[in-house]
């Protein structure tokens, strides 16, 4: 997919003018935040569980190599295979090779952000394998040819009418010629279309919410049951997961599960939470005969021990998106790549480079709501600031803002000169403000005055008045 993070501002402007998107975002804001708040209120030990969950992840990150090796050993014992992939290209190639080895013409997929991160669908399609998204939201955006706009609600920006159009256009080939408008009818049609795809697919690809080191299991969390059909019906099951998904024990996974759904959708538990321990064993009635785990690094191991390590605690619940005033103003597509909202603002520069993604950590008021609702207590604002520091250190910011900042900070470090400057500015701006004390336009402050006035100063600086003895 084309990366448009450098055009964040233009994307945002378009998003703000998109009324369908704005309606969807208003619903999202009201729905998810309220449900999360009720779910956490109902569980008195929620904060304590978050602390436990955070401690589990911190422990894992401090011993990641050890747990990954243990996980691999258990997978191999169960007859499966683990493929260690350094970057997106390697992971794509491994998945393609596995699909080819299975003689696959099509592969069903349950929702996976890692698959988005490595742009797997494009790769499979380009090599003659049809990928079929089975999560309803992912299926909708696959038909639309769009990336997800939310990590847990990928098609949240699509109206019912837009979905009706997409289904009408794409389902004619399966003999559906009626344009449905009711949500239930649309759902039923998608269900019917996908049902046959499940049986035709030679390979099922899922993500994983957890990889469990003690027994080599993987855990998927969905509300549609699609991950279950995806992994159990085809003969080959490929799991794609990034390496920080590991937890030591089943117990640890269940601890984190208790905060995951509550933080995400406000559910106590998602409708389907499946633990699967590899392929079919002797005596099993069903299940895939081949089980592969594609473990993706893609820059994550470089975050270990560094300033962005805490980001690897993220469990992709989406609470930071749902509560972010920037995300809820512009939606996910404005962020220009796979991950959006505060978690995307921290993770994206690591994955695609700060030069392309510099806008993202800057587009924050540091209101702190994201860190407040994050079940893993990831210091998102602090890390966004750290990216800004990297930008400053590597001189990526525009020369004019660097110069402005340098000039301002020179004055701030010279109190006498600063006092003179504010004295003059207080008078000057008050004059411009005039009798009505409002400034509708000011050179260099176009961003401020584009949609609001600048209240004019009172006319004398505090320092001046205080020094003159006013009390």
């Amino acid at each position: 997919m084309r990366i448009t993070t450098p055009e964040f501002s233009a994307n945002a402007k378009a998003a703000l003018a998109d009324t369908d998107l704005q309606d969807a975002l208003a619903k999202l804001r009201a729905g998810f935040t309220e449900r999360r708040s009720k779910a956490t209120e109902r569980l008195p030990e929620f904060d304590a569980l978050c602390d436990q969950a955070r401690a589990i992840k911190d422990h894992v990150l401090a011993n990641l190599d050890d747990y990954l090796v243990r996980f691999e050993a258990r997978v191999i014992e169960g007859g499966g295979e683990v493929h260690w992939c350094t970057d997106a290209a390697e992971a794509r190639d491994v998945v393609l090779a596995l699909c080819r080895a299975a003689g696959a013409k099509s592969a069903t997929k349950s929702k996976s952000m890692i698959a988005e991160e490595i742009a797997l669908n494009d790769h499979l399609e380009a090599h003659g394998i049809e990928p079929i998204e089975t999560d309803l939201g992912e299926y909708i955006i696959q038909l639309a040819g769009e990336p997800p706009s939310h990590i847990i609600a990928p098609a949240v920006h699509k109206t019912k009418e837009a979905v009706a159009d997409l289904f009408f256009e794409h389902h004619a080939q399966y003999g559906y010629n009626q344009r449905h408008e009711e949500a239930a009818d649309l759902l039923e049609e998608a269900r019917q279309v996908l049902r046959s795809k499940y049986f035709e697919a030679d390979v099922g690809i899922t993500g994983a919410n957890f990889l469990i080191a003690e027994n080599g299991s993987i855990v998927t969390v969905t509300n549609e049951g699609n991950a279950e059909l995806t992994q159990i019906l085809p003969d080959t099951h490929i799991v794609i997961a990034s390496l920080e998904k590991i937890v030591p024990t089943l117990e640890d996974a269940t601890t984190i599960l208790r905060v995951l759904a509550r933080s995400a959708t406000g559910q106590e538990f998602s409708s389907y939470t499946t633990f699967s321990a590899g392929g079919r064993r002797d005596g099993d009635l069903d299940g895939p005969s081949a089980f592969h785990v594609v473990l993706l690094d893609n820059g994550r191991s470089a975050m270990l021990g560094g300033e962005f390590q805490d980001m690897l605690r993220c469990i992709r619940c989406g609470a930071c998106l749902n509560h972010c005033p920037i995300y809820s103003a512009v939606g996910g597509h404005a962020y220009g790549w796979v991950y959006s909202g505060p978690m995307g603002a921290v993770l994206t520069p690591q994955l695609i480079g700060l030069e392309a993604a510099g806008n993202l950590p800057n587009a924050s008021t540091f209101c702190g709501r994201c860190e407040e609702v994050c079940p893993m207590k990831i210091p998102l604002p602090r890390m966004m600031r750290r990216w800004r520091e990297r930008e400053y250190e590597t001189r990526l910011q525009p020369a004019v803002s660097r110069f402005g900042l340098a000039l301002w900070s020179w004055f701030a470090r010279h109190p006498a000169a600063y006092g003179l400057l504010t004295r003059l500015a207080a008078r000057g701006l008050a004059l411009i403000g005039g009798r009505r004390r409002r400034i509708g336009w000011l050179p260099g402050a176009a961003g401020w005055t584009a949609g609001r006035d600048l209240p004019a100063p009172e006319g004398r600086s505090f320092r001046e008045l205080w020094a003159a003895g006013k009390r």
Binding site: R369, E372, S401, L429, D453
Partner: protein
């Protein structure tokens, strides 16, 4: 215990951190803060070696300048029992971020931590530390209170201003429907991402109007100038003031921004 010590205990020496916005745009906030601190039994001084807390540099990634400014602030307020700012954002910077800024700095980390421990936001200082529960002020009308993000989340300021405002004669407090949502100021964010910022502040002014309040109060001039500037552009009659002006009984002067008639169109292009 000598008389002098007793005197110091009862009359702490407070350095007023005026904030750069109050210094330039609204000195009356500084004077209101000084009056409230005196009412709370403090001796107030405003050292002239102060300029700004350094947040613009800190949040723009210029850590070296932020540290230089922070070191200067710490020096300027050496010897004060407390440092009090009429802003949750600046107080949060002094109290929460200075120690982080100097973490691992042998020369200054300990000083920054000690300094941070003396720093307070005005209303929480009056309420929590000085035990102020009532003010003598009068302010007639319905007011809404805007919780500024840094004060709310970095310093836990929420109840204190409401408690003190409830003692103001004639004042009725209205609650916003989304008090935890940012107004879209965010320092340089407002200038760098104006479209988003203006959407956010427009949502906030709508929310304020829905309360029916005639006046909006808050504890941070950044947010207040953002909100007042938007209300002014919308031609709204709602007035905006810093909470300290009302608590100090000094709200008889003009409000922030224009308070007469709707906005004129000259700069709206």
């Amino acid at each position: 215990m000598t008389d002098l010590n007793q005197d110091q205990k009862e009359q702490p020496r407070v350095g007023l951190f005026v904030t750069c916005l109050a210094d330039l745009f609204r000195p009356s906030v500084g004077f209101a803060a000084a009056r409230l601190l005196e009412e709370a039994g403090c001796r107030v001084e405003a050292p002239l070696a102060q300029t700004c807390c350094g947040q613009p540099a800190y949040n723009s990634g210029d850590r070296a300048s932020a540290k230089a400014i922070a070191a200067q602030v710490i020096d300027a307020f050496e010897g004060f029992d407390y440092v009090v700012a009429p802003s949750g954002s600046c107080a949060g910077m002094l109290r929460r971020h200075y120690p982080a800024l100097f973490a691992g700095d042998e020369a200054l980390e300990a000083r920054a931590i000690e300094f941070a421990g003396r720093c307070w936001e005005l209303v929480s200082f009056l309420h929590d530390l000085r035990g102020m529960r009532r003010v003598a002020a009068r302010f007639d009308g319905a007011v809404a209170y805007h919780d500024a993000c840094a004060g709310l989340r970095e310093l836990g300021i929420s109840e204190q201003p409401r408690s003190l405002l409830s003692s103001v004669a004639g004042l009725t407090l209205k609650e916003l429907s989304a008090p935890e949502t940012c107004c879209g100021f965010g320092g340089l964010f407002a200038v760098k991402y104006p479209d988003i910022s203006i959407r956010m502040v427009s949502d906030k002014t709508k929310e304020i109007a829905e309360t029916g309040a005639e006046t909006l109060l808050g504890g941070d001039l950044g947010c207040l100038m953002n909100i007042a500037g938007r209300l002014s552009r919308e031609g709204s009659p709602i007035q905006v003031r810093h909470v300290a002006e009302v608590l100090a009984g000094m709200a008889d002067g003009p409000a922030i921004g224009p308070d007469i008639g709707p906005a004129v169109e000259e700069g709206d292009s």
